[in-house]
């Protein structure tokens, strides 16, 4: 898929901080953290050139556990914060990490517009179909008949949100699904996503063993996608709509956005020249 990895001078553990995660033992997010540090090591990215930005949630705690630059922001706003950073500092590698509540509920609007904006970001959503941090309420991806929360004792009755299909409709160029139970496969997807020169959405099935213990069954039900990666949005849409949302792999990959699409910069100017425009001309 990609050439032999460059000789890594830094090991995955060099990308980990000494801060101890607050996560429950067995939480899927541990494997995601490991996969991220492995991917960064394999890509041999200098630590100071990488930033991980997140919102709020168990999953969003991830930046402090890495030893790169990080920003643990506010609930739902990781994507705009990361977009501002990337727009201002395009040479940095910017990863965005969070949960399904953070990304698809409170941050849903930003998700759509980040896909459209197509900045070179890698957005990793650890989907456990529940709000872990606030102790187990339904999220947009929770199945309609899940009665595990006292807040929705009869289930939400609402159809689940299909993040990959929405990312496609909103214009994301790279859409993949991974599973925390397959850290090797996930590392591979992360490397491809980081290398993709546009917005890469990586939907990671990452069980919450505390509030959604039935997700342990994902070990059996999650499967590789049947076909190869497609660049055809119609075909991808069909698969994403019809599938069980448990298929892993690169689900869609559009040709990278054409080089620097920004129009030719206008003539440079200084602030003194700008100020001079306001001077009232001499009458004589």
């Amino acid at each position: 898929m990609h050439g032999p990895p460059p000789l890594p001078s830094l090991k995955p553990k060099d990308y980990k901080s000494d801060v101890k995660p607050v996560w429950c033992a067995g939480c899927g997010h541990f494997a995601v953290l490991s996969a991220i540090t492995k991917a960064l090591a394999q890509l041999a990215l200098p630590r100071e050139q990488v930033a991980v930005v997140s919102g709020i949630g168990c999953s969003s705690r991830l930046p402090a556990y890495t030893h790169v630059y990080g920003f643990h922001g506010i609930h739902g706003r990781a994507l705009p914060l990361a977009s501002g950073l990337k727009a201002a500092r395009p040479e940095l590698t910017v990863l965005v990490a969070g949960g399904d509540g953070d990304g698809f509920s409170i941050g849903g609007n930003h998700f759509i517009h980040a896909c459209r904006r197509n900045l070179d970001l890698t957005y990793i959503v650890m989907d456990n179909q529940v709000y872990g941090m606030t102790k187990g309420q339904a999220s947009p991806t929770t199945p309609p008949d899940w009665t595990g929360s006292r807040l929705t004792p009869h289930g939400t009755g609402l159809p689940g949100f299909n993040p990959a299909a929405i990312a496609l409709a909103a214009g994301a160029g790279f859409i993949a699904r991974g599973f925390s139970g397959d850290p090797g496969g996930l590392t591979e997807l992360l490397i491809q996503g980081i290398e993709y020169p546009g917005f890469a959405f990586i939907h990671v099935l990452s069980p919450c063993i505390t509030y959604h213990p039935e997700q342990r069954a994902w070990k059996q039900t999650v499967h590789e996608q049947s076909g190869a990666t497609t660049a055809d949005p119609l075909l991808a849409a069909q698969h994403l709509q019809q599938g069980d949302q448990l298929a892993t792999g690169v689900l869609f990959r559009a040709p990278p956005p054409a080089g620097s699409a920004t129009p030719a910069r206008r003539q440079p100017i200084t602030t003194d020249q700008l100020a001079a425009r306001f001077v009232v001309p001499d009458q004589n």
């Binding site: 901080s17 801060v19 200098p46 630590r47 100071e48 050139q49 990488v50 930033a51 991980v52 930005v53 930046p63 402090a64 890495t66 030893h67 790169v68 630059y69 990080g70 920003f71 643990h72 922001g73 506010i74 739902g76 706003r77 994507l79 705009p80 914060l81 990361a82 977009s83 501002g84 950073l85 990337k86 727009a87 201002a88 500092r89 940095l92 609007n109 930003h110 759509i112 517009h113 910069r265 206008r266 003539q267 440079p268 100017i269 200084t270 602030t271 700008l274 100020a275 306001f278 001077v279 009232v280 001309p281 001499d282 009458q283």
Partner: protein, 599 residues
């Protein structure tokens, strides 16, 4: 053309605020501000604003000063509008109590403006005799009227327009040399093409010739060698101040009346090597600028009340993570959607107290159009120096008005971020003498840290301990209260036992009221605050020391600034409040009257 009643002559020396009705008013008759106030009104498409801009530029080129404010109807585009012009020998940035001259291109929907256009018995009303007579809301207000067939005169010229005829007429009455008027018109109309310029100039000449025969020299004397001056709008002034302060990244969502600021910034930022991103909403805007600033690029967003409300959680994140950002908030009438196109100083409480938790930050207010350059530049430099949030309050009146001003001054503060140098044991939130910690930015090797809105220890690691919370709260407060803001926290004028305290755009009317009171034998000082939080309390107490009568003046309903000062126990007992909501601008006469009533 027909001239009704007596022939028109302008008063040889016009004193601002001349009012005849009450003995109280008469006391206010004396003032240093010699000025003339002119309004032009007309329905959509009559070209009121074009006339105003040409007049302003002509007056500027004559060497005088002027303010050009505007008001428009509720239509999205092309509705009736009014321009309000005040010209003077000295810098002037507030409106007078009433108008000396009113030019009506037509009278459609004029009742919507009537209360914004106070006229008196000696106001001259010029109107187009082809467009109906003076409506009841103005009739009887004035003894002086000049009816001219502007439309018919315009029709004599191919592509001719009545507004340009009216402009010529007005120019003649104001004593603006025809040549000055024509060169200014030529420069401003140029983008519309040669045909329009040619027709415009012919109409101006026609209007000029049609003015009543009596010579009407401008009662204001222009200097022989005019000093260097600028012609700028408040929104442009904010934008320029931001760029001079070093802002190179802006993210924002459009909103009236801040959009012009963004539209001015977008192309100019690009030419400075920066960028403006149109965000999907204000939640995104504020977080985008936090991200850019975390990346080391000074960043700003601009908005108005509804947008500022949405940004509050993000502002708290910037405060807690000590990421410098600037928010330029151009206030409009509130609450809710309120009066989007009109001015009010009513977002003060939100700017001061809208953040949850104990979240000290800077709140500043520009005192005038000219001061918008200084205050915004200062705000950027303070935010960068103190690694905090600075909210700069301006308003629709300041933002959308233009003025001829003396070149603005620049803050002395260098205003750069304290950057990390220690690359071995870097601690992002380490305690220092000035409570400002060195800041690393991505790319700095050896200083990797995670910025956090969670409470943290000096290193930045999340912490819920009482000791860390207390320490970081103290640090974030002390870096602001311990800083020496010098003399720039306020503009203090005059001396006297009467003390008028104000902030932001009310300052112009307050300063003029203080001058009028002083000249009428009631020595008055004015204290106009630019830095509203934290207020340098010792300096404030010194500024109001020994005052026997204090009045806090602001344009809102609740007396928000008055409450803010009282909450900090900065006012002596008995200090009064003059809090009047928008949309009508505060006028010097009403402040004088209030003082005299209280005296």
């Amino acid at each position: 053309m027909k001239i009704e009643k007596q022939p028109v002559t302008l008063p040889p020396e016009r004193s601002a605020g001349r009012r005849r009705e009450s003995p109280v008013d008469r006391k206010t008759d004396l003032t240093a501000t010699r000025s003339l106030s002119v309004s032009i009104i007309g329905s959509g498409g009559t070209g009121v604003v074009t006339c105003g801009k040409i007049l302003l530029e002509s007056i500027a080129r004559m060497g005088l000063y002027a303010l050009l404010a505007r008001s428009s109807g509720p239509q999205i585009r092309g509705g009736e509008s009014a321009i309000m012009l005040r010209l003077a020998e000295q810098p002037v940035e507030n409106l007078d109590d009433r108008f000396d001259l009113l030019l009506a291109l037509d009278w459609l929907h004029v009742d919507r403006f009537a209360d914004e256009l106070p006229v008196g018995a000696d106001t001259i009303i010029l109107h187009d005799s082809d467009r109906g007579d003076i409506p009841p809301c103005f009739d009887g207000a004035t003894q002086r009227r000049i009816a001219t067939p502007l439309t018919r005169l315009a029709e004599a010229t191919e592509n001719g327009r009545a507004n340009m005829v009216g402009l010529g007429l007005l120019g003649q009455l104001l004593g603006i040399p025809l040549e000055t008027l024509c060169t200014a018109a030529c420069d401003l109309l140029k983008p519309k093409g040669e045909t329009i310029v040619g027709a415009g100039l012919r109409c101006i000449e026609q209007g000029y010739a049609a003015a009543p025969p009596a010579p009407r020299p401008l009662p204001l004397s222009a200097p022989v060698v005019p000093p260097k001056r600028w012609n700028i709008s408040g929104n442009e002034a904010c934008g320029l101040g931001a760029l001079q302060g070093g802002i190179r990244f802006v993210a924002a969502y459009p909103i009236t009346p801040a959009s012009e600021l963004l539209e001015w910034l977008a192309p100019n930022l690009e030419r400075l090597g920066g960028e403006l991103v149109q965000a999907e909403d204000e939640l995104a805007s504020v977080n985008m600028i936090i991200g850019a600033s975390f990346g080391g690029i000074p960043a700003l967003t601009a908005t108005s009340g509804p947008g500022l409300s949405l940004m509050m959680e993000g502002l708290g994140l910037a405060v807690a993570s000590e990421t410098p950002i600037v928010v330029s908030n151009v206030m409009r009438g509130g609450p809710s959607t309120g009066i989007p196109t009109k001015s009010e100083q009513s977002d003060l409480n939100l700017a001061l107290y809208g953040l949850h938790g104990d979240a000290p930050h800077l709140v500043l207010a520009a005192l005038s159009i000219r001061d918008s350059v200084f205050t915004t530049e200062w705000a950027v430099k303070l935010a960068e120096t103190l690694q905090t949030v600075a909210i700069v309050l301006t308003d629709q009146f300041l933002g959308q008005a233009r003025a001829v001003i003396d070149p603005p001054r620049a803050p002395g503060l260098k205003g750069s971020r304290k950057r990390a140098v220690d690359r071995t044991h870097y601690q992002r939130y380490t305690l220092t003498d000035d409570a400002v910690s060195p800041m690393a930015i991505p790319g700095d090797a050896g200083c990797m840290f995670t910025a956090d809105g969670l409470e943290h220890d000096q290193r930045g690691t999340p912490s819920a301990t009482a000791a860390d919370h207390q320490q970081q709260l103290d640090k974030r407060r002390d870096k602001l209260t311990g800083f020496d803001y010098g003399d720039d926290w306020a503009e203090i004028g005059g001396a006297g036992a009467i003390c008028l305290i104000t902030w932001g755009s009310a300052s112009g009317a307050v300063r003029e009221a203080a001058e009028r009171l002083t000249r009428s034998g009631h020595p008055t000082r004015s204290v106009a605050l630019r830095l509203l939080s934290p207020i340098p309390e010792a300096a404030f107490r010194a500024a109001i020391a020994d005052a026997s009568h204090l009045l806090v003046v602001e344009q809102n309903h609740g007396g928000q600034f008055y409450d803010h000062l009282n909450a900090r126990k900065l006012l002596p007992p008995g200090a009064g409040s003059l809090a009047r909501p928008g949309p009508l601008p505060l006028r010097p006469g009403e402040i004088v009257n209030r003082v005299m009533q209280g005296a």
